[in-house]
Symmetry: C2
Subunit: 378 residues, 2 copies
């Protein structure tokens, strides 16, 4: 990293409370997936205690020809619970990539801000001594590597690198497309014990500036602060989160049934909800594929990817990831509109309902749904 | 390739009839697996028709610091029948490796002389304009990459490269051991459509001289000539093959049953034989895992890996690969002793019966079995 590629003069250094807040926000934006950021936040705090710094820069701090690398853990979230990473898989993947391209990275950026992969680039940035950009490629979490704005808007699949805690390093030096990269990396990850660090092809600063979802680390931080403030002030956390994000409160219910299985590295399933409180007598269901994909009320679709469908504990406001959904839990379902970069025709081809196996479900942008007005104001 | 690394002055150029003979010999030494070398032999002949040459050099033509690379197709033989390679997957894998190490290879060498992978290094050598060494790492075929003398005697797993016909290239730059490399490459190959070109880590000339099974291309060539001569002279091909290799004629039988399934990329199964001619009234069976693994007569083990168990058509002497075994076929089962490099304790750990899932079957070197004397002389 050399000064001309990133302007670090306006960088903000994160402290432990920032990391805790970001982890809370990232869990919410994970829309049920992306893995729990809590363990990652502990590892990020360890970096600070080891004397390293986590510096955040805005998108406009990047020079056009800065080399920006996105890293993240890859694997099934169900496995993530049990397999704690050694802690430098992503750094090893970054090093493999740097060795191959013959140049060190100038900054890290998240591929997804939702879940544990919001934290990984911060940890790697601290380890590598470079800043992390306040942005990501999803503004949420998605189950597959190619489902980021980077790849939707033309980023190349190679070279990419995969590394595990045993020191194995795999480089994808030529790959026909992102679907192939995703598949190759996913099955290699299963071979590696279902968790590995992944670094995708270096991006130029000007590309990231144009196509990343901006300010999402800040959004996480603010979400975390919103939750903390509501708890401190004994206000309803769910409502505080909804209001701060101009979201829609879709449903309050008790989990009546959870079907979930591990399919090719993904947690796939469906959750059924019986309405409580204002939704008593109603039934709803959420389809999941690592993340919450589709929300239906009485069999009618009301919210879908790429908009964010968020399940929170009705009482504590704790975000509920798909792997801890269980019978009897009382939850509130919120929906937040996704970033405009995720709503273009080219984006919907990759992250719209059809891309997740719902060819007959049209994407209707959340804000356009007038029928939710009553819920929104309640 | 530079002259000081390989002495090409004594190189022999193969012609089309040599390639045909080698393909016949390689099919026999494939012990049922390794894929049918016939398609490969057509592709090798195409190289000659395109004006390229296939030069063979002896092990002693290598300088100690020559860079020797082994390439081969990787995949399940059952798929090999239907999926014809584009033809330069192995060359692409070699190029990926050369790009990574920053130096061109001086010579190619086969990992296995049995089956189609006897031919691949010749094709790649012709394409790359370098010679192929008269040797291999098995003296036969085995189902997995690590089952070669190279890796048994300490060759490193990385860097290795995988490439497919769509232009995908994967580099394994650090790998903990050969089992991991085998597993990573095998599952990536399944992602690639179950066939790819694989180049393992560059070897030094002096290492190959010490640990390769020598003169096995010549052995193939001679086997092919033996078969052709016996056919021309209307002699029994099976007996000609047995005599030329000092082998053991284990059994003549009719296939009574074939069980075979594709498991994780391998053709796994068992063949039952009812004796004919001199073996009338006897029953035998052969266990297969891509290759013929274990031969039993009346339930008693008589030959096992790493010795070669070869199934030939009883009448034509045509070698029968495991994927074309079928009910009713009249076959002769031969056994040939493997090379001494395959019989050491370290080799047996990797390619002995226990390594293939037969912990209770001790390896008894074939020549030591006095009970076969009658058969041998018959």
């Amino acid at each position: 990293m050399s000064p001309e590629f990133v302007d670090r003069s306006r960088a903000r250094s994160l402290d432990e409370s920032d990391i805790e807040a970001i982890a809370v926000g990232a869990a919410i934006l994970g829309t049920g997936g992306g893995g729990n950021p809590y363990v990652g936040s502990l590892r990020a705090k360890e970096q600070l205690r080891a004397g390293r710094t986590i510096e955040v820069v805005d998108l406009d701090a990047l020079a056009p020809d800065a080399m920006v690398v996105s890293v993240g853990g890859i694997g099934a979230p169900v496995v993530g619970i049990e397999k704690i990473e050694k802690g430098d898989e992503c750094l090893q993947a970054l090093r493999a990539l740097e060795e191959y391209v013959g140049r060190p990275a100038d900054a890290m950026v998240a591929a997804e801000i939702g879940g544990s992969n919001s934290i990984e680039p911060m940890i790697t940035a601290a380890q590598a001594g470079i800043p992390v950009v306040d942005a990501d490629g999803m503004g949420r979490a998605f189950p597959e590597v190619q489902m980021s704005t980077y790849f939707i808007y033309g980023h190349v699949p190679a070279p990419a690198a995969l590394a595990d805690e045993k020191g194995n390093r795999v480089l994808y030096t030529r790959v026909q497309d992102m679907y192939r990269l995703e598949r190759l990396a996913r099955t290699a990850t299963v071979d590696m014990g279902a968790a590995a660090g992944f670094a995708t092809a270096p991006m130029r600063g000007d590309f990231v500036q144009r196509y990343a979802v901006p300010s999402t680390l800040t959004q996480c931080l603010e979400l975390g602060h919103t939750v903390a403030r509501a708890r401190r002030e004994r206000r309803n956390v769910v409502e505080a989160v909804r209001a701060s994000q101009q979201g829609v409160r879709l449903f309050d219910g008790k989990i009546a049934d959870v079907r979930r299985e591990l399919k090719g590295g993904f947690a796939v399933g469906r959750v059924r909800l019986d309405g409580i409180d204002g939704n008593r007598g109603e039934r709803a269901e959420i389809d999941i594929q690592n993340e919450n994909l589709v929300f239906r009320r009485e069999g009618v679709v009301e919210a879908t990817v790429p908009d964010l469908i968020i399940v929170l504990d009705a009482d504590s406001g704790q975000s509920i990831t798909t792997e801890v959904l269980r019978y009897g839990l009382r939850v509130s379902v919120l929906a937040l509109p996704c970033h405009p970069l995720l709503r273009t025709p080219e984006a919907l081809k990759v992250i719209g309902p059809a891309a997740f196996g719902y060819p007959d479900v049209p994407y209707r942008p959340l804000a356009a749904e007038g029928s939710h007005d009553a819920t929104v104001s309640g």
